[in-house]
């Protein structure tokens, strides 16, 4: 994603008021706008109404098992990596009613789920997160069966990417080829230009809709100098990323041929099976369902909610759970994410956002665990 390209046609430069007008123009077009906000000591994604809602002058410091917000001297609006929320919260909802049913005498009547979702614009999607959305597209709407709620919301989504200038220490998008600069699949991609005291945004249109919206905003055409400044932002990000995931084909082979590797026992001694990694992961898609009944016994609802392969209940079939040990649950999670995902969906299930590393209370680092398999192949017990 770091290939030097020419200045994309239609690119423009917005100032802060231009960004405000982008938000206003989306609202006028009927979009609910979701973007980063500071809350509870973290950058979360929530409804925003103006640039004043964005976390100005904040950055995040992330390490295995640690996430802290810190102030910045400038008023940068996007100078952080990713927090515990991901956009799956808005596309693959944590809770969603699948259908309601009613009992009319002995008859059973099914009412399908609610109508079309509101149009939603995501502001501040990171390139790694954009790829995560594409990964969930493959899983949830491009297979034989479709998660219709996801598909409806996805098709009503306007994507404003902000290329990444401040990766965290937990990030490894460069080795996953998912960032820090998005090359397509967005409606508009912004790069926040902060050098020499300026605060401007280079905006690249990615779709006709994105181009039309940009044309409506107060902008000036981007120059070659603006483009070089934007490339410098992400080049600096590339240089600052130290974490690295081994190549996908090597991990896939190593994991799939080592289900009894001693490393599984080792990591199981550290893993708390708390499920944090799966809940913050922007691609983890597993769900369960709950059935709810009205008090009068005449109505019921079936609700799908996020689940995690780290729970004991996840693999329960009559008689007991298939995966009773933390060892087998961690093995399932990591082998699925980094290996089986290729067989199932033609891509890795990891985009290198680093969330699972930062939000693991035990500080387990998926890149270190993966390397233990690819580098220590000969020590595996197979």
């Amino acid at each position: 994603m770091t290939t030097i390209r020419a200045l994309p046609p239609g690119s423009a430069v917005l100032r802060l008021d231009g960004l405000q007008q982008l938000i206003a123009a989306l609202a006028v077009r009927g979009y609910e706008i979701v973007g980063p906000v500071e809350r509870d000591g973290a950058i979360l994604y929530d409804r925003i109404a103006s640039t004043a809602d964005l976390p100005a002058g904040r950055t995040d410091r992330q390490e295995p098992g640690s996430y802290r917000l810190e102030p910045r001297a400038d008023g940068a609006l996007f100078a952080y990596a990713v927090g515990p929320h991901s956009w799956k919260r808005y596309l693959h909802r944590p809770n969603e009613t699948l259908f309601k049913s009613r009992r009319v005498g002995e008859e059973l009547v099914f009412d399908p789920p609610a109508g079309p979702p509101p149009r939603t614009a995501f502001l501040g999607v990171r390139p790694c997160e954009l790829v995560a959305i594409f990964v969930q597209d493959r899983v949830l709407m491009e297979g034989h069966y479709v998660n219709t709620g996801y598909k409806a919301r996805r098709e009503a989504t306007f994507l404003v990417v902000v290329n990444c200038g401040s990766p965290a220490a937990t990030c490894f998008c460069t080795s996953m080829h998912t960032g820090p600069r998005a090359t397509g699949g967005f409606d508009i991609a912004l790069t926040e230009l902060l050098a020499d005291g300026r605060q401007e945004f280079l905006a690249e249109p990615g779709t006709d809709g994105g181009a039309a919206l940009l044309a409506y905003l107060p902008t000036r055409p981007a120059t070659e100098a603006d483009w070089q400044a934007a490339l410098a932002v992400t080049a600096q990000a590339v240089a600052s990323i130290g974490r690295r995931m081994p190549p996908g084909n090597e991990i896939k082979a190593a994991l799939q041929s080592n289900p009894e590797h001693a490393r599984w026992d080792d990591v199981a001694r550290r893993c708390l099976a708390c499920a944090n990694c799966t809940l913050v992961c922007p691609t983890c898609f597993c769900t369960t369902v709950e059935d709810r009944s009205d008090l009068d016994g005449q109505g019921a609802a079936r609700v799908r909610r996020w689940d995690s392969c780290f729970t004991r209940d996840f693999s329960y079939v009559h008689g007991g759970a298939v995966r009773t040990q933390t060892r087998s649950r961690f093995r399932q999670w990591m082998t699925h994410k980094l290996a089986h995902w290729w067989d199932q969906f033609g891509t890795s299930g990891c985009v290198g956002c680093g969330r699972c590393i930062a939000w693991c209370p035990a500080g387990i680092d998926i890149t270190v665990e993966a390397a233990a398999f690819t580098e220590g192949q000969n020590h595996g017990i197979t």
Partner: protein, 273 residues
């Protein structure tokens, strides 16, 4: 149409096969699901209780109802076994892969069933028996815990009367009335009459029973790619979307439940995979 929304079906009749197993005859109230192939399953929804994946035991063709056999083991299956004729249930599907009754044409057929595993095999057995001239020797090896756990007794008796089918039944624990074989079903495999060069085996039962069946079939010379199993894993959707039924890289609801053993041999004996 949302793939998660069931169609209403009415319970036409129920039969108690064993103390905790009930077979239901179902008919659509309005629209019906597409015709299930032998080995496929449906998701059965009980109002307010939930859904469970249940193998189809009889396809709704030639005026027959949709037949499903259920053992009461959890909240949903318990509720299903308590349904009475006239009540309604939600049905969606059919899902999953089918027994290879077409590609096995011309072969000897070996059915190996353990316990409730006869239920998912029943449509394949009926298909083979009603197209008897298209297959070679046909054997059904069936093992249950005790004589009282046997499914479809009348039908088994009917199949026994067909002279060109070998039916062997064994029980783990015999009672005084039992005059047949005692022992696990895998012990019947070496005695069965089939030519391993041209045989397709279809095996369904508890995982440990399938594990030993595969070994016995291997010893008998049957290649893995003509040994078919029906896997069981947790399922919440049947659509490949909930992620729960994963078995290695396979989604059991999509690439199974019926799968040839060569595709899973490398993980079938890995504990807690």
């Amino acid at each position: 149409m949302d793939p998660y929304v069931p169609l209403p079906y009415r319970v036409l009749a129920t039969r108690k096969d064993t103390p905790d197993v009930v077979t239901l005859d179902l008919a659509p109230v309005g629209d019906s699901i597409p015709e299930p192939q032998p080995g496929q399953f449906t998701m059965l929804y009980v109002f307010g209780v939930g859904e469970a994946p249940i193998s189809v035991s009889g396809a709704p063709v030639d005026g027959n109802p949709l037949v499903q056999t259920v053992r009461a083991v959890g909240a949903v299956s318990n509720a299903i076994t308590r349904l009475r004729p006239g009540q309604e249930i939600g049905v969606r599907g059919p899902y999953g892969t089918a027994w290879p009754v077409e590609s096995a044409t011309g072969h000897d057929i070996l059915f190996v069933a353990g316990g409730l595993g006869l239920a998912p095999l029943r449509p394949a057995i009926r298909h083979v028996l009603s197209n008897r001239d298209r297959y070679g020797r046909v054997s059904l090896l069936y093992g249950t815990r005790g004589p009282e756990d046997m499914l479809y007794r009348d039908e088994l008796a009917e199949w026994r009367r067909m002279l060109d089918v070998e039916i062997e039944v064994t029980v783990d624990h015999a009672d005084r009335t039992w005059r047949g074989t005692v022992g696990v079903v895998t012990k019947l495999i070496p005695r069965a009459d089939f030519d391993p060069e041209r045989t397709t085996a279809m095996v369904c039962g508890p995982e440990v029973m399938m594990r030993f069946s595969v070994l016995a079939l291997q010893v008998a010379g049957l290649p893995f790619e003509r040994t078919f199993l029906s896997l069981e894993r947790a399922m919440k959707c049947g659509l490949g979307l909930c992620g729960r039924c994963q078995f290695g890289a396979h989604f059991v609801c999509q690439e199974g439940a019926v799968i040839s053993y060569d595709r899973i041999a490398h993980i079938f004996t890995v504990r807690e995979i």
